[in-house]
Each structure stands twice: as C-alpha cells, then as structure tokens.
C-alpha cells in the first residue's frame, strides 16, 4: 500500500499567499461569522448596532490589510495567477472598503426606522464587498465572472430588502432579471474571446494578441462587444442603463449609496482590467465604441437628471452621468486614463455615499420621502445638513476646491492627451447640464418656500444620529481636502495605475 502511494506523483497545489488574499478573505469571513452569530445567538443577547459595528470593523481591517499590501514590493498573486493584488486591485479594494465603512454607521438608525433586518443587510454588504474585491483583482475572465456574480447576487437581494415598500421589491426584481440577462452576455463574451485567443487569462489574452495578428477576428470582436455589454450594464452606461434609475430609487437608500460607490468601482476596475489591460492591443477597435457609449451616457445622464423632481432620482441619473465621465478616462486607454479613472472612483464614491446619506436621513419611515419638496427650506431648518449636501452637490458639479473638480480635470486631461477633444468637450458641456440638476436641489433647499407637507413631526425633522452625522462630516471633509490638496490621492492613483 505504502509503496503504491509512494509511486504516485505528489499533487502540486499552487502556493497561496494567504496574507495577500486578506482583502478578499476578511469581508467573506466577516460575513460568515456575522451570519453564524446572528443565527445562533438570540437577538436580545446582542447589543443594538452590533451588525453595523462589525461590518465597520471588518472593512476597517480590510482597509488596513490593503495599506499593508500596498507597502509591499511587487504584486501578490494567488491560485496560480488567477487573482492578482496589484495597484488597480488594491486601490479599488480601498475604495470599496471605504464606501462600506462610510455607509455602515448610518445603518443602525436607518434599519430601525425603516424596519429592515440590519443583520441581513450587513451580511450581504460584506459578501458584495468580497465579490467586488475579487472582481477588481481578477486576472482571469472566469474569476472575474465569479466575483461579479458574488457581488451582483448580493446586490439584487439588497435592493429588495425593504419588504414593506413595493418599489424596493420591484427594484430587486428588475435588477435581477436585467442583471441575469447582462451576465449572460458577459459569459458569452468570455466564451467567444476564449474561442478566439485560446485562453481566459487576461495576461494570456494580452500576450496572444500582442504576438499574433488575428486576421479573421469576427469572433474576437463579437466577444469584445459582448464583454462591453455585460460590463457596461454593471456600470450603468447608456444604453444599458435602463435599470439604474428605478433600482436606485427603489432600493433602500444606504444600498443605493453602495451601488453608486462600491459596485460602480468594481465594475470600472473590471472594465480597466479587461479592456485597457487585456485588450489594450486592440484599443483601436473598442475605443470608438467606448467613445460613443461615453457620449451617450454623459448626455442622457445629465439631461435626464436635470428634469427630475425627486432628489434620489436626480442622484441616480447623475450617477449615470458620472459613469460617462469615468468612461472618458477608460476611453483614453492609457495609464493616465487609468489613474484618472481611479481618482474619479475614489472621489465619487465618497461624494455619492455622503449625499445619499443626507437623503437617507430625510427619507422618513417608509424611505420614500425623497422628493424635492422634502428638501424645501432645509437651508433654514437644518443649516448644517443643507451646507453639507450643498458642498457634496457642488463637488458633483465639478466646482473647484472639491475633489469633484480634480476628478473631472484629470479625466479631461487623459482624454485630451489621447486627442479625444470632442469627448472632453461633450463631457464638460454635460457637466454644465448636470449642474442645473444640482442647482435645482440647492434652490429647493435655500431659495424655495419652506414646504408645508403633511408629514408627521418625526418625519419632518428627523433626528440624524451620530452615525449619519459623522458620515456626512467625514465625506464633506474628504471632498474638500481632496480638492484643496489633491496631491496625496493623485499620487496614490497614479502609482496604482503604474505611472
């Protein structure tokens, strides 16, 4: 028996750098631990707010792990180069963790008010974060798909978590059906690209396209197009955006914040990996398509944002328009473009979570008081809250001395460097159109009549809570700091992009 075994060749398992995988493992393990504790221990024995606190602690630990890995020399790869923790992955992971950490403190009070089980929300958030990091670190199309599915399925459920609100259920269903549809595109795209290049490894695809000239490239191009459809859906690029406004409005507001920040960041990280890195050689083929997508996304997002009369819907459409801006950076297909995309993602994630937190504070017991009328007179009723939202909205408009300006400036720089002047002009003009949408919110808060609506006292002047207050203060401070002294964030995003 022993001799027989000895004759077998030992199975070589790939070496796994577990420490390097911490950004993935921490949120996944954190989710499982929280799930177990909450299912085994009766709720009354657990302190209120434990879920949110645990979520915050886990992503904070994840953030520390990212910082430690950032300090290391060289990339961390795992599972036979299936997963790679390089600059883009780590930066995106930091954005994801940062968004979750910013969204978490609002949750206890919000869940209590709206009547959502915070444990489910927190577990799903952590799972989505784990999926997002896998997506950002994927070095293989299959792994990318795994990460995307992990993240998306959690996000579908999160969108539908507000069981008492029909719009929330509708949002979940819509997101799920259309999401599954787009995932099919992505998967078919992966298959076609595999058929054309013989590999699913991103490095392998890049190497193959670099070495061989694909003469009959119909299959490759079809695959590339399908990949773009699949990923374009995730980042809500026009014309694959139809789900976004309804889902953003219907989903519980903190979940909307996460979709605008973490989910979007992961989607763009995947776009960068697949298109700029793996398919960079064929940039001439996909750049015009992304150019058109970016133009459409910018125009549709900002024009439709300007005609909405609901704050959450304005933010939903503006999120589409921001996706257009980020696509401008992707279109450049250069390291500067990638750096600009990463900077934009970080700046926008904080702005989005901050502004949606303000909306969440005001949204009332059913989480549906988000019309502009609710904001009327906020400037005199709640001056600090109004000022916070104003700064965040001006940052979205790209006003100087906010991170939003630097983000737009760097994206425009990347586009101009790539000689895409018209795209840059379209982007800036649609920023003006979008500014009109933000100004409408500001007008409602400051220059409108103090609205007399029939809300009861609790809804009319809700207690903000320490959690939400600190989130808003933190995001405003970050937005201003990154606008006045952008050097640090700029150098981080540049070195993440390999500049």
């Amino acid at each position: 028996m022993g001799t027989v075994l000895a004759q077998l060749e030992p199975v070589v398992t790939p070496a796994v750098d577990w420490a390097g995988l911490l950004p993935v493992l921490l949120p996944a393990a954190g989710a499982l631990v929280l799930l177990m504790v909450r299912s085994l221990v009766p709720s009354r024995l657990l302190p209120a707010g434990l879920d949110a606190l645990w979520t915050f602690a886990v992503v904070a630990a994840g953030f520390v792990a990212v910082v430690v890995l950032w300090q290391r020399d060289g990339e961390v790869t795992a599972f036979g180069d299936q997963l790679v923790m390089d600059g883009v992955a780590l930066f995106t992971a930091a954005v994801v963790f940062g968004s979750v950490a910013l969204a978490a403190p609002t949750l206890p009070r919000y869940c209590e008010r709206v009547g959502i089980d915070s444990a489910e929300l927190c577990v799903l958030t952590l799972l989505a974060a784990a999926g997002a990091v896998v997506m950002a670190g994927a070095a293989d199309l299959i792994v990318l798909f795994l990460g995307l599915e992990t993240m998306s399925i959690a996000a579908y459920v999160m969108a539908a978590l507000n069981l008492r609100r029909l719009e929330s259920l509708e949002a979940g269903l819509k997101y799920f059906v259309l999401g599954a549809f787009s995932t099919a595109f992505l998967l078919y795209g992966i298959a076609l690209v595999y058929g054309a290049t013989g590999t699913t490894s991103l490095d392998g695809i890049a190497g193959y396209l670099d070495t061989f000239l694909v003469l009959r490239d119909g299959m490759l191009l079809a695959g590339v197009a399908m990949l773009l459809v699949g990923l374009g859906f995730k980042v809500a690029a026009v014309p694959f955006h139809a789900w976004a406004p309804d889902v953003y409005v219907g989903a519980p507001t903190p979940v909307t914040a996460l979709m605008a920040s973490a989910v979007k960041a992961a989607g763009f990280a995947a776009l960068i990996r697949v298109f700029v890195d793996a398919l960079g050689v064929r940039a001439d083929d996909w750049q015009p398509v992304v150019f058109a997508l970016a133009c459409a996304t910018l125009a549709v997002g900002s024009v439709l944002a300007a005609v909405q009369s609901d704050a959450k819907r304005i933010l939903a459409y503006s999120s589409i328009s921001h996706a257009g801006f980020i696509l401008v950076g992707v279109q450049a297909a250069s390291d500067t473009g990638v750096a600009a995309v990463l900077f934009y993602l970080a700046a926008y994630a904080v702005i989005a979570v901050g502004s949606l937190t303000v909306v969440a504070v005001l949204s009332g017991r059913a989480d549906d008081r988000t019309g502009l009328a609710v904001l009327a007179g906020l400037g005199s009723r709640r001056p600090a809250l109004a000022l916070g939202l104003t700064i965040l909205l001006l940052a979205q408009a790209g006003v100087p001395f906010t991170s939003g300006f630097v983000a737009k400036f760097s994206v425009i720089s990347a586009a101009v460097e790539a000689r895409s002047y018209w795209l840059a002009i379209v982007a800036m003009v649609s920023a003006v159109v979008a500014a009109f949408a933000y100004l409408r919110v500001v007008v409602a808060m400051y220059f409108g009549d103090a609205g007399t609506d029939d809300a009861d006292a609790d809804d009319a002047s809700p207690a903000m809570g320490l959690g939400a207050a600190s989130v808003i203060v933190a995001s405003v401070l970050f937005t201003l700091a990154a606008g006045i002294v952008p050097g640090l964030l700029e150098s981080l995003s540049s070195s993440a992009a390999g500049l």
Partner: protein, 554 residues
C-alpha cells in the same frame, strides 16, 4: 521669469488672496450669540487685503523690467503639473487694488436684509476668488479661481436678491459655467500640445507657455476661440450677455456692485492676459471680429439702456455698453487702445460700482426701482443728487473725470486700428449721455410728490462710503499719470509680445502719429527699451528688439 519680488514681505500676494477666505472661516465659527461682531470681523478681513493692496501700489516698481512683480510660486498638484503661481504687473495691479478696496466699501455701505453670517462669509469667499483670478499666473489656478467666484455670487443673488432671484442666480451660474467648461478643455489641450511641441513636461505655467509660442497657427486659433468664449460670457459680449441684466437687477446691492465693478473685469482681464498674451497671432486674426462685437455691444447696450423702465436694469445695460469700449480698446492692439482699455476696467468699476450703490440707496428708501415711480428726488435729497451727478458724468465720460481719459485713449487706439468702427463707437459716448442724463432727469428733476418728497437724504455712513469713489473719479480724471505710468510698461510688453510673435504685424500707431499722444496725458519717458527678452524661439522668428513698436522716443 520670477521678477524681482519685494523682499520685505514674502508671499504678499498669497496672503492677500487667502486672508478673506480665512475671514470667512472665522465668521462661520463664530458663536450665534455674538452676531454683533459679524460685521466688524468681515470688515477686518476685507480691510487687511485692502491695506496690503495699497502697500503693493506704493512698492510697485513702475520702471522695472520684466513682467511680473511680487511673484511667488509653490507646487500644488505635482503629478498634474499645476502650481500656485502668483504675481502682478501693470495690468492686474490696479484691478487688484480696486477689488481689494471695493469689498470693504460694499461691506460698510450695505447691510444684508437677513442672515448676515452666511452673507458676509460668501462675500469674503467671493473676494478671495476675485483676487485669486487677478494674480494667478498658472492656467489651472486661474481657472479654479475664475470658476469658484460663481458659487458665492450664486448664493448672494439667490439668497439675498430680489424678484426672480433663483432664476437669475441659476442663469448666471449656468451661462458662465458653460463658457468656462470649454475653456477647461482648451487649457488642458494647450498645456499638452505645448508640451509635445516644445518637448518639455506638461506645465500650466502662463509665462512659460506664452513666451514660447510653438503651436500651429490653426490650433492656436481654435484654442483662442475656446478661451474667448469663456471671457465673452463673463464680460459679457453681445450675444452672450443675456444673463447680465437679470443677475444685476435681481442681485442685492452689494452683489451688483461687486458684479459690475469686479466680476465683469475677470472677463476683460482674461481677454488681455489669456487672449493677447497667450495667443498673439490668433488675437490679431480675430481682432476684427472682437472689435465688431464690442461695437455692437456699445450701441446695443446703449439703446437697450435707454429703453429700460427699471433704474437698476438701465445701469446694468450701461455696463454692456461700457464693456464694449474695453473690448475694442483691447483689440485695437496698440498702446493707446490697450492702455485705455485697462484704465476703463478700473474706471468702469469705480463709476458703475458707485452707481449701483446709489441705486441701492434709492431702492432701500423707496422700495421701487421703477423710474416712473421716482421723480424730483433732488429736492428732498440734494446731497445724493449731487453725488449721483458726479458719478453719472464720470460714467458718461465728461472731461476732467475718470471716464474721459479711458474712453479717449480707447477711441484713439481704435481710430488708428479700425477707423470707422471708432467713429461708430464714438456715437456710443453720445448715447451714454442720452440715457444717463435722461434717467437722471426723470429721477431727480421735476416736482417731487408723495413718498418721493419725503425721501431722506444720504446718511453720514453712506456719504463716507461715497467719498473714496468720488476721490478716485476726480483724481483719475485730473491726474492719471501715476496710473498710466504703471500700466504702460505692461501694455508695451504685451504689444511688443504680439509684434514679436506675429509676422507682418506692426502697431498701427508706428506709422500714423496720433494727433494726441500719450505724452500729453503724462507718460514717463524712458520706457522704450521695455521690449521683452524673448522672441528668438518664436514661431515667427522675428527678433527685432523694438523697431516695430511705438515710433516716438519719448
């Protein structure tokens, strides 16, 4: 190109720019109970820059070679090539001084109707924005300040304005933002194209880009168009002026004063500094168009002003006309015209700022700006009528007051460059007399009835606020030499820069000796060797040290 900075006060311009913003922060941090301290603190935060600006005026070396004084440079966003680079020359010096003096006067002269804390904070932030725009020597830094002024002015109009204030504020914001949005693309494109053409790293330094003209002619023209659009909206030039009447009319008094006196100058200043200096060839190419638009503005603004029933709207339209003069002076592209343009920037600020203050005083007393509701105010308010007369005559351009000097120089320059346009523009001077005198007659003359007869005259504080305006109006009209002495070297340098970089362009004044030369208005001799020390790398390759400019030797 860091000119000799004054050693006695390092970073004076940086301090000048940042003090008001710091004041705004202090205001926001002040406890609610001490609202009586808000105004003194705001005043202090605006008087300090004013004192610094006056100090600059005394220390400014009129005979210095090189463009910029008190320069000061730090890296800001290293990875993107953006730096904090400030400096003043003769073009910006008086605009800085005027801005720094205008804000304390606006703060003393007008009290907000409500919520003083955010009001003063926005005003101080606005001051930082305006000062920063005038001293910025880095393209991105300029853009950042140029754009940030929208926010405080938006809130001032929307929060403390009258009438359709939200509409006016939003229109103002979007119009100006649209112009500057395209300028941002042009700025970035300019930096990248310049870097690739000259082989250096990407930098947004104004002097470095302007002194090394390497762009292809066509490219430079496109970029000039993008810059000019942003400035045309801000000036405003016909046909993108439509935001101005709404914004000026609905703004609170202090807002109108700052808008007219300071913010419109951001556009005209931009046309000189970022039009002529950055794109000399394109400026020459587009000069006929710009002069035409300026002349249209003069005539159109004057006719529209004459038709207004609202006194404040009348003053607003008169700005369109006056700014037209500045534009034709600038694009006359000769020493007289440009000097006149720069003088008019200051003069218009002083006169129209004062006019808006006076209209504000009338509105505060009578709660109407309809000219038909007013009448005979001279009897109950003789002092106000007297002050109004002087200010109005300065705006008309009466000899002996400041408006005359500037307009004369502008017309002189324009006459040399575009003779017939100058003739048409001169008609604008007459039209200005028509609408202003007519308005004065309807408001102050005739019998005073009802509330008009009981209107109180100026208070002491209001009178004191008007004193600096009147002093400036008379001083600049009678003895403009000290101002011209400081403006001219910078103007000569810009004109020489245009001549060096545009093949075949010579200042028209070199051939036709003007009947009235600048010597009569008090020019100092010995600036003639002021030619800038560049030109060898210029695309045109023309490196005459100054044979082309300004024939007479002083």
């Amino acid at each position: 190109m860091t000119a000799a900075a004054s050693a006695s006060f390092p970073a004076v311009l940086t301090v000048l720019v940042l003090v008001p913003a710091a004041g705004a922060l202090v205001l926001l941090a002040m406890p609610r109970a001490r609202s009586d301290l808000l105004k003194p603190v705001a005043l202090l935060a605006s008087v300090l820059p004013a004192a610094l600006a006056v100090w600059l005026l005394t220390e400014f070396d009129a005979g210095a070679k090189g463009l910029f004084q008190f320069s000061d440079q730090y890296t800001w966003i290293e990875g993107l090539g953006v730096s904090w680079h400030v400096g003043v020359d003769g073009l910006s010096l008086f605009l800085v001084v005027m801005t720094a003096l205008m804000f304390p006067l606006a703060i003393v002269g007008v009290d907000p109707e409500h919520s003083p804390k955010p009001y003063y904070a926005w005003l101080l932030i606005l001051e930082t924005g305006c000062l920063g725009t005038f001293v910025a020597l880095d393209l991105i830094m300029f853009f950042v300040f140029f754009e940030i002024v929208l926010v405080p002015m938006y809130f001032l109009i929307g929060g403390w304005g009258h009438g359709r204030r939200a509409y006016a504020a939003t229109k103002f914001f979007l119009f100006t933002m649209f112009g500057s949005a395209i300028m941002l693309v042009a700025i970035v494109a300019l930096a990248f194209l310049h870097a690739s053409a000259s082989g250096g790293g990407v930098s947004f330094d104004l002097v470095g880009i302007a002194e090394n003209q390497v762009l292809a002619t066509n490219t430079a023209r496109w970029l000039f168009c993008a810059f000019a659009l942003a400035f045309a909206v801000k000036v405003p030039l016909f046909p993108v002026h439509t935001w101005l009447p709404d914004a000026h009319t609905n703004a609170p008094t202090a807002g109108s004063v700052i808008l007219a006196a300071v913010m419109l100058k951001l556009g005209t200043y931009g046309l000189v500094r970022f039009g002529l200096y950055l794109f000399p060839e394109a400026s020459v190419y587009f000069a006929p168009l710009m002069v035409t638009l300026g002349v249209i503005g003069i005539i159109y603004g004057a006719i529209a002003a004459a038709m207004q029933r609202d006194l404040k709207r009348l003053v607003a339209y008169s700005s369109v006309a006056h700014l037209g003069f500045i534009v034709i002076g600038t694009f006359a592209l000769n020493t007289e015209g440009l000097t006149g343009g720069v003088l008019q920037m200051v003069n218009h600020g002083v006169s129209t700022g004062a006019l808006f203050l006076l209209v504000g005083m009338i509105y505060e007393r009578r709660h109407t700006r309809e000219i038909s509701d007013l009448g005979g105010l001279q009897k109950p308010a003789p002092v106000m009528a007297a002050v109004f007369t002087v200010v109005m005559l300065s705006s008309v351009g009466l000899p002996g007051l400041n408006g005359f000097v500037g307009e004369l120089l502008v017309l002189l320059g324009a006459f040399n460059a575009h003779r017939w346009w100058a003739v048409v523009a001169a008609a604008g001077v007459i039209l200005a007399a028509v609408y202003l005198l007519w308005a004065y007659q309807r408001v102050f003359h005739g019998p005073a009835s009802g509330a008009n007869a009981e209107m109180p005259d100026m208070r002491w504080r209001e009178g004191l606020v008007m004193v600096p305006f009147l002093a400036a109006i008379v001083f600049m009209g009678v003895y403009p030499k000290p101002v011209i002495d400081r403006v001219e070297p910078a103007v000569d340098a810009i004109i020489a820069h245009v001549e060096d970089n545009v093949a075949g362009f010579a200042e028209p004044a070199a051939d036709v000796h003007p009947p009235v030369s600048l010597d009569d208005l008090g020019r100092s001799a010995g600036y003639n060797d002021q030619g800038t020390d560049h030109g060898t790398e210029g695309r045109s390759g023309r490196e005459d040290g100054g044979a082309g400019h300004d024939g007479d030797g002083g």
